[in-house]
Symmetry: C2
Subunit: 208 residues, 2 copies
Amino acid sequence: MPEPEFEDLTARARIRDAAIALFAERGAGATTVRDIAEQAGVSPGLLRHHFGSKEALREACDAYVLDRLVQIKEKMLFDNPGFLPAVHPTVVRYNKYVTRALLDGSPSAAAMFDDMVRLSADWIEQHIPGLTKDYHSYAAVFTGMQSGLLAMHEHVSRALGADMFTPEGHVRLAAALIDFYSHPLLTPDLAAKVQSALDALRAKAEGA
Amino acid sequence: MPEPEFEDLTARARIRDAAIALFAERGAGATTVRDIAEQAGVSPGLLRHHFGSKEALREACDAYVLDRLVQIKEKMLFDNPGFLPAVHPTVVRYNKYVTRALLDGSPSAAAMFDDMVRLSADWIEQHIPGLTKDYHSYAAVFTGMQSGLLAMHEHVSRALGADMFTPEGHVRLAAALIDFYSHPLLTPDLAAKVQSALDALRAKAEGA
DNA sequence: GGCTCGGCTATACAGGCGTACAGTCGGCAA
DNA sequence: TTGCCGACTGTACGCCTGTATAGCCGAGCC
């Protein structure tokens, strides 16, 4: 099953790909039907003919990207340490798309987020038991940070001094991520201090 | 200097506040001049009279929020452990606004992001020396994750089972954050494995 | 009192948007 | 050959957007 990346694709597929690229880059709200049609090299009317409406096109893109991403991730799960985001251009574009969809409030992207939270929670509970008392909340934070880092791609890249999706930037990002994930940022006494502050807050909330 | 939260504010201030609220909630692109005017209880024309254009209004909001946020953060820096996001409603709204502005590509929000990276890098270098070889990249990732978590607010809240800006959700989030920041997610041997994978990648990049 | 002037409204305009629809073209069964 | 049907185009419509502008009203100065 080779990637469907031919130059001369079905017009329907070219529309879909153009929409995915533009939605990922600017968001669905800032992309017009005419933009997509132009990029796909067809007339605006054809979008409607094939997909019915812009919203329906968006849903078709959602379904397509999510499906392909699941396929790809399943394939990579076995030969990748898993914490380093991939650099394959297609995966990058799809990840960008999902991140955008998450921010735009797409239901299917939200469902995928929830899946990732569940998967992370299971993985952590199995591999690092005792890390937390509430695996699901922990996984929610972890997944949110992971996705959020992608959402902040532009600013993180600027701070890194290199686009985090180029090899150069990716290496810097990965190095920082390894440091980030392998050493605690809070020392035990600082953690205890914050914990007690939280307990006080919790007590106050229950008292009220 | 009490908070300017009177019911009967200057029309100009009411417009600004309405714009901040709507921009933070839906983003500037999805907010119309008429929406803002209605929420502020004035006519659309008055926006133009006071601010010149929608874009100029956005810049005025940017400047105002960033200025107030700096004031607030300076005041809180001394009586807050710093890692737990604040729950004060105004601060929450302003943080939401900045996060949106970051995603919308506001230059002043980007500048604030860069400042936060610098501040974090300094703080880490001073308080946890030896944590990383590249404090700036580390801080970039840290700041990106922190902001990104806010950007993913909707989904994180759903996974937590409570809006992370309500006391209930905030407590869960804070508990997970403490676990997250006080225990390494990567065990030393796993970290070494990922590190060697990264070194191989780096070598290949330099060889090419 | 008369006048100016800034805050404010109402209305109008041009442009871009998603959508609708009538029509053209080419391949393929009968 | 004839007829049909789906892919595809071009144009037009109605709506909503940001912007422009003419005018109203009340407070403050001469």
